[in-house]
Symmetry: C2
Subunit: 203 residues, 2 copies
């Protein structure tokens, strides 16, 4: 390992992630982070180029995770079973996995992440995941359903207001609703869903 002084860099990451998630990126100052670690603001600048760079540091791992997820999906047949397995694996990374906290941070800081480069990368990965979820059906309805199924996983964290509900139940609930959305992808359109179908060429 490269940290020689007891992993100050890792401690910064941990505290920053906690504070950013709790009170938001913009409302958390570097002074606040530094004080919590009993160092000065400037010390942070030895370990990170900027405030944004702190975010980038703990987003990178997550990017690789999502890339792996997308790559796996693309190697599977474009069936409902694959879609369901994909959303289930995605839920694993949100609920049980090694870093659900990073995703909570992301969910909490959507706005500011739009202007952060790492946020835009994350956004791109999200869209690619949604694309993987509706492979074989690039209709607008399928795109919307795929995106909403990802949202179901995110939303189950705060939308469900039940007294003593557990994380496991939230996960199961999210997948139940997500599965229904995914089941409607790839099915033949029973209505006039033709509309503007210029049959977009997708890469």
């Amino acid at each position: 390992m490269r940290e020689s002084t007891g992993g100050t860099r890792e401690r910064i990451k941990a505290v920053a992630l906690e504070l950013f998630t709790e009170q938001g990126y913009e409302k958390t100052s570097l002074r606040e982070i530094a004080e919590r670690l009993n160092v000065t603001k400037a010390a942070l600048y030895y370990h990170f180029k900027s405030k944004d760079d702190i975010v980038a540091s703990f987003v990178e791992d997550r990017l690789e995770q999502m890339d792996a997820l997308t790559a796996w999906a693309d190697s599977q047949p474009a069936t409902l079973a694959t879609r369901r397995a994909l959303i289930s694996r995605y839920a694993d990374t949100m609920f049980g996995g090694d870093m659900p906290s990073v995703m909570r941070f992301f969910e909490q800081n959507q706005t500011v992440l739009k202007s952060l480069s790492s946020g835009q990368q994350m956004r791109g990965r999200m869209m690619r995941l949604a694309s993987a979820l509706c492979r074989g059906d690039d209709s607008p309805a399928a795109q919307l359903r795929a995106t909403l199924s990802l949202f179901a996983v995110h939303t189950s964290w705060f939308a469900v207001r039940a007294p003593g509900i557990s994380d496991g139940e939230r996960r199961r609930l999210a997948l139940e609703v997500a599965d229904e959305l995914l089941a409607a992808i790839g099915a033949e359109p029973d209505e006039d869903s033709a509309s503007t179908s210029t049959a977009g060429a997708r890469g």
Copy 2:
């Protein structure tokens, strides 16, 4: 009318809404707004108590709009038809209505609005709308479905990446998916959806 100098207050509101939506609340400075109006920062403080207060000013109208929507829903029978009519009216305020721009601002600034008082009010109204959407079925699944149906309306703005798709088509699409989600509310559970059942094993 109360504006004597040509409606400076209204001009501030208009410029602020535009900039906040375009580049985000935190990344827009009062100096930027003031310069655009050829006044100084301090002049803004005659018209508004704070930066937050500018947001509150154009959020208030929207709150009343949502209150009216919720009140109407509560006066109707708790049927699927009511739910569908409600989400349709909601989509009207997002797409065709008088101020879709305010909603776009909201969608763009979710994070910061969590700490703004007007944002919390808005959040509360959103939850009440979701509650109205699942009246008669307070199961966790129903709450999740109701929330997602609102998200379907929001999400259709950016999740659907089709070349020349129109606002009307986005609206129709959003309602198609939302209707499916709403149809599953209040229906008798055909599975082991017995709420607190600890049987979470899904494969």
